[in-house]
């Protein structure tokens, strides 16, 4: 089975069904058992990874599937986090409701911003989205009355359903893992549909896409808003996990993290952002000794992967398989 969302498998149906079912069972078992098999710190990283998977997958929707490099995407992560945090801390809304509200609110913000930036081509789009998120950060920092400025928002509560509170790491892990699975499932469904094909058409060739009736503004706005929604969802999950958020979230650091995840993991595939998210979350921790060089290494890795592995790690699979097939045939 290919990772690329657009390629259909040729296997006869029954075999897919059985293979799929088996994989799902194994994955489910792995997720359920995971918190008990690892130590607390690894579990913490796993939770962050799952949140990163959601965020990276959302960026991938815009970057990999529609083909636009939005350097403002971290802003949506931040908007989701701040929305949920403000609702639950300042407005007293129960956490679970605040978290659910984060995605639609963030998607709505994308609906407002989208028309301003999406019709810009190439370089203009990239630069303006970057500027936009920087300005948003500036606003968050300065609008102290509303956002508490640089001090950030504290005391964001864990969500609870009924009397059960998601305060243990294990329970939060299940929560975010479920979130990640839902996200990927939605994106997969979306990409294997008429809408997904319209997205990819825009990426491949805007002019041809338009000439066959795909409205650039409509579909890029749609992708933008859906991606923003998922990023906001990730932001809310993050806020209620770390319980303290600051305007740093809107900063370039977060954006860079997401970028590296998608670029190194593999844009335009479902597994790419997952691989990237896990790598970027876990690997730097292994390099704790050279902690201060962490970002420098990020930078070099990003540069090298663009030049050597432009389609990311996820593309290695099909590439290797290609070599294997060719070798077998010869």
């Amino acid at each position: 089975m290919s990772e690329h969302a657009g390629v259909q498998s040729d296997l006869p149906k029954p075999r897919i069904g059985t293979m799929k079912a088996a994989l799902v069972l194994v994955a489910a078992a792995a997720i359920l058992g995971f918190p008990f098999a690892v130590d607390n710190y690894t579990l913490h990283l796993a939770i962050l990874s799952a949140i990163a998977v959601i965020a990276a997958s959302s960026l991938n929707l815009v970057m990999g599937y529609v083909g636009k490099l939005s350097l403002g995407h971290a802003a949506f992560f931040g908007i989701g986090a701040y929305t949920s945090a403000l609702l639950s801390v300042s407005a007293g809304v129960p956490s679970w409701l605040a978290m659910l509200a984060a995605a639609p609110v963030t998607a709505f913000s994308a609906l407002l911003i989208g028309p301003i930036v999406l019709w810009l081509r190439g370089a203009y789009f990239i630069i303006v989205t970057l500027s936009f998120s920087m300005v948003l950060q500036l606003v968050i920092i300065n609008w102290v009355d509303f956002t508490n400025g640089p001090m950030g928002i504290l005391g964001i509560a864990y969500p609870s359903i009924g009397s059960f509170e998601f305060s243990s790491k294990a329970s939060y892990f299940y929560l975010v893992a479920a979130g990640a699975v839902v996200t990927i499932w939605c994106i997969r469904r979306l990409m294997q549909s008429r809408t997904g094909r319209a997205f990819e058409a825009l990426r491949e060739n805007e002019n041809v896409a338009m000439s066959i009736g795909v409205s650039k503004l409509h579909y890029s706005l749609l992708a933008f808003c859906i991606a923003a929604g998922f990023a906001g969802f990730a932001g809310a999950l993050y806020a209620h996990y770390v319980s303290v958020i600051t305007p740093e979230m809107f900063g370039f650091d977060v954006m860079v993290g997401m970028l590296v995840m998608v670029a190194v993991g593999g844009k335009g595939t479902l597994s790419g952002p997952v691989i990237g998210a896990i790598l970027v979350t876990f690997v730097p921790e292994q390099l704790r000794l050279v902690k201060e060089f962490r970002l420098s290494i990020f930078g070099i890795v990003l540069m090298l992967s663009v030049v050597l592995m432009p389609n990311g790690i996820a593309s290695l699979g099909p590439t290797l398989r290609g070599y294997w097939e060719r070798w077998r045939r010869s």
Partner: protein, 290 residues
């Protein structure tokens, strides 16, 4: 009237440095269709190398200037050859990612090497103020303005009157046609990139005696030079000059008459307004973007 004149002068001086940085950025984009996200970092490194050269190596400000520019130019050359040349025909997303990677690398490495504490070169003119009519301008700022303008003029002359300039103009128009004419397009690209980052480094080095130097100073420089380049039209050098001065004046008057807090947001605001009215910048033309 005094305030106005003062703000005007400040605006011009700041504008000149914005123009200097932006020229480099727009030259690189116009020639190579590459958005150099590390441009602000080249500016920052120019400042730091000048700072180190002047203070740690005791070369003094005036010697540190060319030292910084040359060293950064070499770094730029190496980067272009190793990372940009293989991406010659790649899309803008790839080259953007690679320069973003460079930017991250530079920023963090600078932080590690020089530490987070800001530094500054001591004013080589000792704080002398020159009186232009009723307005007082520090000598160092005037010097920076003079050098910036001289560099811009020199570039203009190079492009207009030299053989190399002709090759650059041909490549700028149509790289394939230029290649067919026998122009070594790769070399023109390398030269453009080196000149581009050298301008950024020069701006940084000049200002290292005016403003504090810190590892994250590149961020603002990036944002503002992007704004200027878009205002002036991507790839449009005179546009970058005009845009640079325009932004410098807008910021100066904005900070003076409205508020200093959101001063940095003026560049973005200006950007959005201009793009809404003239989608290709003030001087850009349809088809000039990637």
């Amino acid at each position: 009237m005094d305030l106005f004149a003062q703000l005007l002068t400040n605006g011009i001086i700041i504008g000149a440095t914005y123009a200097l940085i932006a020229i480099g950025l727009t030259l690189i984009f116009g020639m190579m269709r590459v958005i150099n996200f590390a441009h602000g970092e080249f500016y920052m490194l120019g400042a730091y190398v000048a700072l180190s050269a002047a203070t740690e190596f005791n070369l003094g400000y005036f010697v540190a200037l060319p030292v910084a520019v040359v060293l950064i130019a070499v770094v730029g050359f190496v980067f272009e050859r190793v990372f940009l040349r293989p991406l010659r025909n790649a899309d803008i997303l790839s080259t953007a990612l690679v320069t973003i990677g460079l930017s991250i690398f530079f920023q963090n490495t600078a932080l590690v090497i020089w530490g987070p504490k800001p530094g500054q070169i001591v004013d080589p003119f000792g704080g002398t103020t020159v009186m232009v009519g009723d307005i007082g301008v520090t000598a160092i700022r005037l010097f920076a303005l003079a050098v910036a303008v001289a560099a811009m003029v020199a570039l203009g002359l190079l492009i207009k009157y030299t053989k190399i300039g002709r090759m650059m103009r041909a490549t700028f128009q149509d790289r394939d046609a230029a290649a067919l004419q026998g122009i070594e397009v790769d070399r023109v690209f390398s030269l453009s990139f080196v000149v581009g980052v050298a301008f950024a480094a020069l701006a940084g080095a000049l200002l290292s005696a005016v403003f504090v130097v810190s590892p994250d100073m590149g961020n603002m420089a990036n944002l503002k030079s992007f704004a200027v380049v878009i205002l002036g039209g991507l790839g449009n050098i005179p546009g970058a000059v005009a845009g640079g001065f325009l932004l410098g004046l807008a910021e100066s008057f904005g900070a003076g008459y409205i508020s200093t807090g959101y001063k940095d947001g003026i560049s973005f605001l200006l950007l959005i307004i201009v793009l809404l009215i003239r989608p290709y910048g003030l001087f850009g033309r349809e088809g000039s973007e990637a």
